[in-house]
Each structure stands twice: as structure tokens, then as C-alpha cells.
């Protein structure tokens, strides 16, 4: 089993886990956590797909760097919104 396959499976697992929680939880912080886990899973899929021992593919890495900073901004905005509405999405 190569590193590529291991991280591919694990990335898919993280995406699945995040979607299950997004579908079943009404708690703001859990949803934001699920969104973060989803982003990590997708990043892992991208990097595992670009994995090649001979060359380094800089384009997905640059995407992920941008993605990390945007994600943290979105997380901060969502949490500020969540604090404003008081923690329960289903009300």
C-alpha cells in the first residue's frame, strides 16, 4: 500500500465523516468543525492525487495555502454569526 492510497482513503473518510455530521447536527460549533474537517479532507484528496515521487506539483499546494487562509476567515465569520444568533441553527 503506497502513501498515496493511504491518504486517499483517509481523505475520503474525512469528507464522509464531515458530510454525515453536517447532515445530522444542529449545533453551530459542530457544524463549523465539520466544515473545517471537510476542507482538510478535500485538501488531502488533492495532495494525494497530485502525489508523484519524481516531481512536486506546486499548483495544488498554492491552492491549499490560499484555501487555509480563506477557511480561517470564513470560520471566524461563521462563529461571529453563530455567537450572534445564539448557538442553535434549528430554531
Amino acid at each position: 500500500m503506497t502513501a498515496e492510497t493511504i491518504y486517499l482513503l483517509s481523505g475520503a473518510g474525512l469528507v464522509g465523516l464531515a458530510f454525515w455530521r453536517l447532515g445530522t447536527s444542529g449545533d453551530v460549533i459542530r457544524r463549523v468543525l465539520a466544515l473545517n474537517v471537510l476542507a482538510v479532507g478535500i485538501a488531502m484528496l488533492l495532495l494525494a492525487a497530485a502525489q508523484d515521487p519524481a516531481t512536486v506539483d506546486p499548483v495544488p499546494q498554492a491552492f491549499l495555502l490560499t484555501g487555509i487562509v480563506v477557511l480561517v476567515a470564513v470560520t471566524a465569520a461563521l462563529l461571529a454569526l453563530g455567537e450572534r444568533i445564539g448557538g442553535d441553527c434549528d430554531e
Binding site: A3, A12, V15, L17, W20, L47, P58, A62, T66, V72
Partner: protein
């Protein structure tokens, strides 16, 4: 041997994600998320992406965890409406199908890797030798410009929502020696990463994430962001970075005729200048996203 290492990292990441999403305890869930960041950074290192690992290390271990703790403290314990078991079952089946589909698509898909050769052919003209920095600040500098714009939008949104500013407990006297060592070292390291980013893993985002960590340490000890002026300075620094990036784009357009198409020969100077401004401005924006708006903007709720 290294296969065992990879499997342990992957399992650790999955286990932490599971704990973070299922734990009924707020602190446990946030701590699991922080630990997941450690495993994920190790995974990035194993996948040959130390640039991403640097940013993940700084953001995942520092800012996101602190943000989640802040909100967890304000929102109180987990409040779940109690979803029927059938919904859980359906969601689990759909998620499993999705994960299986992803594995199938990635395992059977055959795509030619087009970017590595293209980037390798042109990286000499970009002014820097780290291909990731070349992509971020030369080939796809547009994306980076828009990303800074996204940060500004998030900052405006948070200011508009006017959450309560953080009020950390007064620090104990033991914290000061700690801060006197850690914060200057963080600033030095940020400079080191910024300068190194042209030739080796590192760059503006990583440096900014590290500076943010230093800023958070100060803020959490009650030494930053207490007054109205700090908030204004941080927001202005954030906006200033975007303004400078735009000015550089327009200046390059006047000189060469293409937006963000740097003059031949001096590309490195442009990139380093833009990166330095970006480092300060991204760090300032991330710290103010954590702190909330400055006193003058806040209304009483």
C-alpha cells in the same frame, strides 16, 4: 516501515476528526480538532508539501483552536435537537456512498499532470526559485489578490456583527517571561520564513500565520487589543495591505501593460515587497478577526 507511519498518521487524523465531531464535551471536541491539526501537518509533510504544513501548523494549532474556544465559551454546552435515528442512518449511508464514490473516482481516474512541467519551465522567469511562491505571487497572483479581498470582506462582516470583544482573565506574573521569549522569537521566525520563501518552503502566508500566533499570545494575556486605538491600527494595517497590492497591480500594469505582470529582471524585488506588505496585513486582519471590532464600532447589544 514508512507505510506503518503513514497508516498511523491517517488513523490518528481520522480518530481525532471523529472525536472532534462526536464528543459531547466542548473542550474535548476543540482539543481533538487541535490534535487533528498535528496529524494533518505530519500528513502534508509525508505528501511532500512542507509549505502547506507550515501554514497548517501555525493556523491549525493557533488561530482556529483559539477561535473555537472563544465561541465555545460564549455558546455554552452542546445543544442538539435530537435527530431521529432514521435520519442518522440515511446521512451515514449517503456519506459512505460519497466517500466510496470519491475513492473510486480518484483511484480509477487517469489524468496527466500538466502543471509540474509548465511551472518548472517558467520558474526561472518568475524571480523566485520556490515554485509554490512563484505560483502564488507571479503566475496566479490574481488569486492571491482576491484572497486578500476575501479576508477584508470577512473582517467587515465581523465588524458589522459586533460580537463582544474578548476579555481575557488577568495574566499571572509568570506569563511575562514566557511572552518576552516567545513573541520576539515568533516575530524573528516570521521574518526568517518570509525571506526564505523565495528559495525554500516558507512565504507570506506562513509568516503571517506565525505573526498571528504571536499576536494571539499577546491578546490572550490581555496585552493587545484592550484599547480602541489598537483595533483601528489593526484594521488599517489590514486594509493597507490590500491597497498596496492593488497599487502594485496597477503600477505593474502601467509599466508592462499587463496586470500583475512584473517588469522583467526586477520580479524578485516586486514579489518580496508585496509579500512583506501581505504578511503584515494578513496577520493584522487575522488578529482582528479573533479580537472582534474595535470599541468605537461596537454597539451595545
Amino acid at each position: 516501515m514508512s507505510t506503518a507511519f503513514d497508516i498511523l498518521v491517517a488513523l490518528g487524523g481520522l480518530a481525532c476528526a471523529g472525536i472532534a465531531l462526536v464528543a459531547g464535551n466542548r473542550i474535548g471536541s476543540v482539543a481533538a480538532f487541535v490534535i487533528m491539526g498535528f496529524f494533518v501537518a505530519l500528513a502534508w509533510v509525508r505528501l511532500g508539501a512542507p509549505d502547506v504544513a507550515l501554514a497548517e501548523a501555525a493556523i491549525g494549532a493557533g488561530l482556529t483552536g483559539a477561535l473555537l474556544l472563544r465561541s465555545a465559551n460564549r455558546l455554552g454546552p452542546v445543544r442538539e435537537a435530537g435527530v431521529p435515528i432514521a435520519v442518522h442512518g440515511i446521512a451515514a449511508c449517503l456519506s459512505l456512498a460519497l466517500a466510496g464514490g470519491i475513492v473510486w473516482a480518484f483511484a480509477t481516474g487517469t489524468a496527466e499532470a500538466v502543471y509540474p512541467s509548465l511551472v518548472a519551465a517558467r520558474v526561472g522567469e518568475s524571480g523566485v526559485s520556490n515554485p509554490v511562491t512563484a505560483v502564488l505571487l507571479n503566475f496566479r497572483a490574481w488569486d492571491t489578490l482576491l484572497e486578500v479581498a476575501v479576508l477584508v470582506v470577512a473582517l467587515l462582516l465581523v465588524s458589522g456583527l459586533a460580537p463582544v470583544r474578548i476579555a481575557p482573565a488577568p495574566p499571572s506574573e509568570l506569563v511575562l517571561p514566557f511572552l518576552r521569549i516567545v513573541v520576539p522569537v515568533a516575530v524573528l521566525l516570521a521574518g526568517h520564513l518570509l525571506w526564505k520563501g523565495a528559495t525554500a518552503p516558507g512565504g507570506a502566508f506562513q509568516a503571517a500565520a506565525l505573526l498571528t500566533g504571536g499576536g494571539l499570545a499577546l491578546a490572550l494575556c490581555g496585552l493587545l487589543g484592550a484599547g480602541r486605538r489598537t483595533g483601528h491600527v489593526l484594521v488599517l494595517a489590514g486594509l493597507g495591505g490590500l491597497a498596496l497590492f492593488l497599487a502594485a497591480a496597477l503600477g505593474a500594469a502601467i509599466l508592462t501593460g499587463g496586470l500583475l505582470d512584473y517588469p522583467a529582471g526586477s520580479a524578485k524585488v516586486w514579489i518580496i515587497a508585496i509579500e512583506s506588505a501581505l504578511t503584515l496585513s494578513i496577520a493584522a486582519m487575522l488578529v482582528s478577526l479573533f479580537l472582534g471590532p474595535s470599541e468605537g464600532v461596537r454597539d451595545d447589544r
